[in-house]
Symmetry: C2
């Protein structure tokens, strides 16, 4: 397809996607994207088609969280707009996701035909994606395409947020220059004087602090700063909590870990450590309503240092152009080494002391389910929790060293975790996923179980069936929160692989866990029947907060 | 909730939705919309919750096509953005769809919190919907809300296209004025002189015409002009064809009907009648690529009169502000009465002459399937065809008097027809739906079968299983067109109602059809196993056209 044996725009793009770090790409083909899919199919990337585009987006999002970058390819209009919510979610939660969309031919864009999959406005999809990405581009000419591709992908890798590349069908095969090496500058640079001044001010504040603490958030994970963070914690000895979105960004075994801070929705200890700190430093945490316990957080700006990807706020003033990485590095050397001061803090791992004694025949409860699962998961697993009570349940677990945790704890699309399990397992095939999904969330995107089976993946999926949208029931109940009852556990029969079972009692659960371990290569789909008014402490607190408002 | 016993904004909105003609409203609840759902639940409308928002949108779209208006209610962000593609489709296909979205509280909009289900920009969802609706509004104050609601709903009813109403949680309960009667002006008015001049010019052209013809399109249906159209046809005696999107807008039994015109993708006879007409009048047809046979149409503007909802184009000049209704009315009186001139035209009903003789044991083919089904459907049914080869198959059928046809023949989202069946059957419960869906389309939105079962609806759904995206295979084949094989016909067991079966031979099909008739109140879910390279003539022609390009 290339002119005189050279490279085409499509080949250039595909090569760059490989170089950016994609080993898989998710998507659904369609006629405006078929040439692109042909090239992807013949690339080093594995093309993973899903049942629909939204699910492809969720899968690619979870993939990106583990792999460092994710990608999704769709056709124009019907594809791009069906995918939309997943990209909004990735944008909100700082996920580096590359969206590639096919598009009508150049001459079709210029004429005023009403093309299928469009409303006639050929700028519409681009204009919308431009608002939910850090860079968006349409490849209109083969001369400019390479530079556009390089800059767009660099923005994705630098800011760890979604980007959008639209490729008209006929541009795919146009000849363009060879790709060569791809070594984009992905660092977020600091203004030297601002960095020095911010670090100096922070060090001085800590010098006078009596009860300092650190709140660690999701950007530590996204920007790959876990080691720097650990070094800082080890040097300072300060106690720390994580947010819910940032759960396990630093291993929870760390001796200075005080728990997950969700203000009034979380535990008392992390609340006390964070809210009673005389100097609180937030590193990479997003100030979202859920992270802040739906406005129950009692945090005073006057005693806070808040560092995010590219800026630091101290008390009421701002230092723009200070990168989180540089700031942590400066503090690591600038703060004096101290022994941990953990008086009055009980390590959250204590919750796991004592054996879990199965009560045969006893109906399984939410509380006992998470207590049992907390003893089941280990550092070789990854844990995915869907939006709803499942994310509160997972949030309350104490996670073992090495376990990866994925939950959409800010944007909170229900239905994320099942396609997310597909994406996560392809990104980290050496880990077995343990996934918690409510029945309402499952009905959103449940068909993707078939894709998990198709790729012979072996997650252990818990379908938590409490017959409706529990989180909404707690906020405001009505018949609209009820769901049609499915025989969920029999879905593996329909989709052609894995196995399913139904769990009602504690010993049923034991049998299911044993089966999952005895069949390590198979999907385990375990439907847990819970009482419709049984839910976590976190959700109970949410209901109280919500109904006070 | 209302101040001093009066009406609230939420109650006002709900009352207007009822008055606009909604007897059902589709949607998925979420915390920003719970108060609204409470009011909807207590209204005269029936709230129909679906598994996810996109499906709610498709259901409401099909509902609107039959009921004259449809509605969908969702929560903010995750709901609004998941719904998006369905509304783009309704906008493209001229469907009167009311979108109601909950939204964060007023004080939350003004502060710079990162609220769950958002990216922080509280204007984002409105700004996007504004581009795919004919009116979009955010109800910010109880004083202005009634007028905003009235104007927005009137625009929907007038232009038969989607509108968007966003309601912050705390505005729902604010007191506002009583709704009173709702009698919006929904007519599209004509400029009198332009109308007269256009009609006069058209009449003169027809006076000299030797082989005039009419092309009838979807707006005849949307604007409720079937009777006017029939009167015009009966008076003039001109032969006519419909577009694919406009299939059956005029009953196909009409003696002057020449077939469905899809240029090179359709039959020879309608092509000849339309393309060889010396004066061709297009009434309410959208000039889409599919309607025009993917640019194979040979239509010369110089011999055409093209009337759409609010304008008429004659040859190369335009008459703005001429309504389709007025234009047809003028011609009906202005054109002389003539006997039909149908020499050389064979009525399409002839294709149904002769008995269909079942070949026992013979594997069912695509051609024989549609031939048989053409003899099965009657005027009490409605026919839904999903995007893909199914819509070509349905397009080639000759439809009995009274049968309603629904297909997304312009925007072409795959997965539309199953949620569409839910919506259509709730809009017209006296009709039984017969639905054709390919396996690829079904995997997109298949969970909505459970909602069809939940409401005890009795459609006859044919799942046409040819193991992949057939339409794409014809355009360009690759492994990305393959699907995981499901035991589709067993899904009714999972979802808790109706029955399913698998059809491989002609006598299997007979047995299934008998069963469907013998169980008139049950969902029939019939999986038809087709050869993966077996498809309709229409798709074969599409492949030829596409591969020439």
């Amino acid at each position: 397809m290339a002119g005189n044996g050279g490279t085409t725009v499509g080949q250039y793009l595909v090569r760059r996607l490989e170089q950016a770090g994609l080993k898989h790409i998710f998507g659904v083909p369609g006629d405006y994207a078929l040439r692109l899919f042909d090239l992807l199919q013949h690339s080093r990337m594995k093309v993973v088609t899903t049942c629909n585009e939204l699910n492809a987006g969720y899968a690619a999002d979870a993939y990106a969280r583990l792999n460092g970058v994710g990608g999704v390819a769709v056709t124009y209009g019907v594809g791009g707009f069906s995918l939309f919510n997943a990209v909004v979610g990735a944008f909100a939660e700082r996920v580096p996701l590359i969206v590639v969309s096919g598009a009508p031919r150049m001459y079709e864009r210029q004429h005023h035909h009403l093309l299928h999959h469009t409303v006639g406005d050929m700028n519409l999809q681009y204009a919308m994606y431009e608002k939910i990405t850090v860079a968006a581009t349409v490849l209109l000419t083969p001369e400019q395409a390479p530079e556009q591709i390089d800059q767009t992908l660099a923005a994705c890798l630098r800011y760890k947020r979604p980007v959008y590349i639209e490729v008209p069908v006929d541009v795919v095969a146009k000849p363009c220059r060879e790709p060569g090496e791809f070594e984009p500058d992905t660092s977020i640079s600091s203004h030297r004087h601002a960095l020095d001044e911010a670090a100096e001010e922070a060090v001085e504040m800590f010098a006078r602090a009596k009860s300092p603490a650190i709140l660690a958030g999701v950007e530590i994970h996204r920007l790959g700063l876990r080691d720097e963070m650990l070094a800082l914690l080890n040097r300072t000895g300060y106690p720390f909590a994580t947010t819910l979105l940032g759960k396990a960004v630093v291993p929870e075994q760390h001796p200075q870990f005080a728990g997950v801070y969700i203000a009034a929705l979380g535990g008392e200890q992390p609340r006390r450590v964070i809210e009673e700190a005389d100097i609180l430093m937030s590193l990479g945490a997003l100030m979202t309503d859920v992270n802040l316990g739906i406005q129950t957080a009692r945090l005073e700006a006057g005693r806070m240092i808040v560092a995010n990807s590219d800026q630091v706020r101290i008390k009421h003033h701002l230092y723009p152009h200070v990168s989180l990485e540089d700031f942590i590095t400066e503090l690591r050397t600038g703060l004096p080494k101290r022994a941990p001061s953990l008086s009055g803090i009980t390590h959250p791992s204590r919750a796991l002391e004592g054996r879990f004694v199965v009560k045969p025949g006893e109906k399984i409860t939410v509380k006992r389910f998470y207590q049992r699962l907390n003893r089941f998961v280990d550092g070789c697993h990854m844990l995915l929790a869907d939006t709803g009570d499942a994310i509160f349940g997972a949030g309350e677990m104490f996670l073992p060293q090495g376990l990866e945790f994925i939950g959409q704890a800010f944007y909170m699309s229900i239905g994320f975790a099942l396609p997310g399990t597909l994406g996560a397992m392809l990104a980290a095939p050496e880990r077995r996923a343990v996934t918690f999904i409510g029945d309402g969330a499952f009905q959103m995107t449940g068909q993707e179980l078939s894709t998990i089976i198709r790729h012979r993946l072996n997650p252990i999926i818990f379908l938590l069936n409490n017959e409706g949208y529990t989180i909404e029931r707690v906020l405001r109940d009505g018949p609209y929160n009820d769901l049609q009852s499915w025989k969920y556990h029999r879905l593996p029969e329909i989709f052609g692989g894995g196995w399913g079972c139904e769990v009602r009692t504690e010993d049923d659960l034991e049998a299911a866990l044993r089966m999952a371990q005895d069949r390590p290569n198979d999907l385990a789909f375990i439907e847990v029947r819970l009482d419709r008014w049984d839910y976590t402490d976190g959700l109970r607190k949410l209901g109280q907060v919500f109904n006070r408002k």
